[in-house]
């Protein structure tokens, strides 16, 4: 009996391994099966409605990386960085030399500088692949992207498109349908959000063009082309699959993290030291 369980465990582990490897390959190398035609929403456009989530380690580092220790000693293995094969096409980010220096400084001082730690709005494309679900609500005039992290919301204007009226964390998004893809063109960013926990960053010249393309009933191909001449020498692209949260009761829950960071941000300004 023990032997049998052991054998099945091996088979399962191997199968899981094959799946994981193929997922990794798909995420960076192969375009989705273009032949897939998505079910239609009532208005005739591909139906992207649903709750979606990335399943990779891009939120730690969009570039390929080895596993690494936690930045907070007390978190031990729970805070350690899982390895990742990267989601950047071509492998490496085309930083300008001075920007690469800043990226390294960001990483070295991440606990102080990473906007995620302060519960700031995550920006784009970071919001898409944080380890939290987001929901697409596909109205006719507006496609909404509602993220669990910090309750970040993006409005994609499908009609009445204008230039960004002001800089913002989540940018100003205009969208259009191209065949099976929802294409979202976003500008008007501030220079305060990052791409990941590894200090990869952008300036207020950031321009993101995202493509959300159904690749099967329960997966989307997510591609984002990044242009930021102040930080990068050329445009570059990331891609990854997004997975539908298929649980019947899946929903976006509150992650109102402001109260979780108040002691971190303002604790030194308390009248009385915090009671432990």
């Amino acid at each position: 009996m023990r032997l049998r369980i052991g054998t099945w465990t091996w088979v399962a582990a191997l199968a899981a391994g094959v799946v994981l490897v193929s997922v990794s390959v798909v995420s960076t190398q192969q375009p989705a099966a273009r032949a897939y035609r998505a079910p239609r929403a009532p208005d005739g456009h591909p139906n992207l409605n649903g709750i979606w989530q990335a399943m990779n380690t891009a939120h730690w580092d969009i570039e390929a990386h080895s596993a690494g220790p936690s930045a907070v000693r007390d978190l031990g293995a729970a805070g350690a960085v899982p390895a990742g094969l990267g989601v950047v096409e071509g492998g490496e980010l085309p930083y300008r030399p001075e920007a690469l220096t800043k990226k390294k400084e960001n990483l070295a001082d991440r606990l102080k500088l990473d906007p995620e730690i302060k519960c700031y709005l995550p920006g784009v494309p970071r919001a898409t692949y944080m380890p939290f679900p987001f929901q697409i609500i596909q109205g006719g005039e507006h496609v909404m992207l509602v993220h669990e992290f910090a309750g970040a919301v993006r409005t994609v204007y499908m009609t009445n498109q204008t230039e960004a009226p002001a800089d913002s964390w989540m940018g100003w998004s205009n969208g259009r349908w191209e065949g099976e893809s929802l294409v979202v063109d976003t500008r008007g960013f501030n220079d305060l959000s990052w791409f990941d926990r590894a200090g990869n960053f952008h300036s207020d010249a950031l321009h993101v063009v995202e493509r959300f393309t159904p690749r099967s009933a329960d997966t989307l191909l997510y591609e984002a082309t990044i242009e930021d001449p102040k930080v990068f020498t050329r445009p570059w692209k990331m891609s990854m699959p997004l997975y539908r949260r298929v649980e019947a009761n899946a929903q976006i829950l509150e992650f109102r993290c402001v109260e979780f960071v108040e002691d971190l941000m303002y604790g030194h300004l308390r009248k009385e030291p915090r009671k432990q």
Partner: protein, 349 residues
Amino acid sequence: MSCRLGIVSAAMLVSGIAALAGHAALAGQAPPAQSATPRAVSGATPARAWVQPRTPDGQPDLQGFWSNSTYVPLERPNAVTKAFYTPEEAAAIRKAAASREQAQTAPGTVDDVHYDFSQFGLDRSQAAQAPNLRTSLIIDPPDGKIPPMTEDGRRRVAEREAATKGVGRWDSAESNQLDDRCLIMAGAGPPMMDAAYNSNYHIVQAPGYVMILTEMIHDVRVIPLDGRAAPSERVRQWMGTSRGRWEGDTLVVETTNFNGKNPFRNSSERMRVTERFRRVSDQVILYGFTIDDPSTWTRPWTAEMPMQKTTGPLFEHACHEGNFGLYNTLVGARLEEQRAAEAARTPKK
């Protein structure tokens, strides 16, 4: 931003008054005595046949930008004994209220530079505001007042007051108000109450879901319409968890699972809010809510208000990210304490 909304809103207001001329309850004719269904409220003969707009999948179309800004108080003022004002009375009250808001900042003062209510559109009179002749938002009980509290409710109020006794507002971030902490606006709800300004909402519908985005602190509810049950009682949220369904052309949303940390009028975390949204014209959604919290009030109570169509868009309200006010008040409070302590040590001459 507010300025821009304000200018737009003034135009919306004028068109709103015209569009609402036919609504009985809102115009004060034949006021329903009891908790009115939206149909009863909108039951006056409209000037022309109005067809309920629908989404491609057939839901009544509530989509767009709406405002619930109002000068009508939740509870009827003590001196008022009727349920509706005349249009003249309502206009006078509105004018006086707007001027009180604008008078909050005197021209040429520091306050004025910070918050000029008239310039930045912060007074409600510059918002898109549906005309409403009601003397209170509460329509049931008929006296327009929140019903008496239960013993449990009174005890909870006393406990909450005791817990904050001796705690200064600026002793720590946590002792400050929720809105100053950018956690949530007091009126974010549900139920959705108007805020002092930016009382704007964006509704988007997709098959099986209605999303309601509040401008302030980008508070958002994604409401499933598939009949699913509320989650485990262990899941507690600031805005609760909402479940919706269509009853005819009325969207009914039931919300439970509150965390009790932003109590609506001293409610408990066991409050159940039932909201009703019914579009009654191109310009107006009639919004009603019933509060059922037997541990706080002796009976359920119901309020109703029109939401006025306004023009978008909503801008990103990154409150926490730019919360210099909280930081600066804490720094200032510690500095004042330090100076006071130094003054106490310095021998008086």
